[in-house]
Symmetry: C2
Subunit: 225 residues, 2 copies
Amino acid sequence: MRDTLAGYAALYGGPSSGPASAPIPAANEAEAPPLGYALAQLHGIFVLAENAQGLILVDMHAAHERITYERLKAARDGEGIRSQPLLVPLSLAVSEREADLAEQHADTLAGYGFELRRAGPQALSVRSVPTLLADLDPKALVLDVLSDLREHGSSRKLEEARNELLSTLACHTSVRANRRLSLPEMNALLRDMESTERSGQCNHGRPTWVQLTKAELDRLFLRGR
Amino acid sequence: MRDTLAGYAALYGGPSSGPASAPIPAANEAEAPPLGYALAQLHGIFVLAENAQGLILVDMHAAHERITYERLKAARDGEGIRSQPLLVPLSLAVSEREADLAEQHADTLAGYGFELRRAGPQALSVRSVPTLLADLDPKALVLDVLSDLREHGSSRKLEEARNELLSTLACHTSVRANRRLSLPEMNALLRDMESTERSGQCNHGRPTWVQLTKAELDRLFLRGR
């Protein structure tokens, strides 16, 4: 885990300006997790954590989205994105163009964990969704994937848009923002971030967490060091 | 409480620079306490609280010291600082000069809640201390007061140094820093701050709390508004 983290901290140790100049934890602090331990949730948006350096703020949604993205990517480029059958297949009303695209790209979609069958001129039956996204709304998920297919319809373009598709999928974890997290859930998120490469930056290039050091906190209180 | 707070917020709404430009809560938010509700303690130094505007950081010790100072001042200028007898009088070895001063200024000391009796050429017996400071170490407290007496020994100078003496007394609440506070204790501190005039600034002119607004937190994450 240290290796992952060293790279992670070096690449994404907070934003490039402002009070978020996150130092890489020193070697002798290897026992303590770099992102510390969760204290509380703020406004349903941030997780506050205490580490040796000071206060950590985590953009819950951005961090979670990034972790999902990296996991989907690792799965797709590795053993494949796992698929989970829905208990009851979902009937979906779509446009004829979307139904055509779903049929045409059935193999590609299967590679992303989706099993969609044509159920009529303007209807699809959703049989399976990616396991990693199984607790999300399957309807919204499939409609967004079809929207991506419509935009990058040709096979060649779709190949180029591979990561964009993953990004679209990961973005659906946004429904989890504003959820009340328990302290163990928050700590699990922190540990996931530490063990996920590139988790320090969201898909739009913004930091998923920032560090306010003790010295920076002192400066807020006009206390010199 | 609103009146106290309006004055307090107007006078001390955070420091004059940096991210702490605390807005005064709008009238329709009168129901929610301006300093919000405590979330957690950070590094034994800060209390983190959530209010409608964002995140509140409180310098626990500075806030507590200020509250004690204002209470001692209000008591002295009002019905007098209440005194609490020690269960067992404390024998204190002091210099002859200090013992002389304690005798000479017995009335003044009584006005501050201290009853000290001479117990020998270089000895005092501490009988009572200020009720507000009854849970502090009486020995350290009395030695500091005697030190102030030594410095401002003449009656005239002592009169001028009245608030300095209060400041010395309030400073002893510092022993409470680094204490683990429960959430109810933290919330009690926040409510005390709201109901104490001038509690927004410590005796050395630094803020006792700062507000990080949602917009400021967003900026840390490079999210524009």
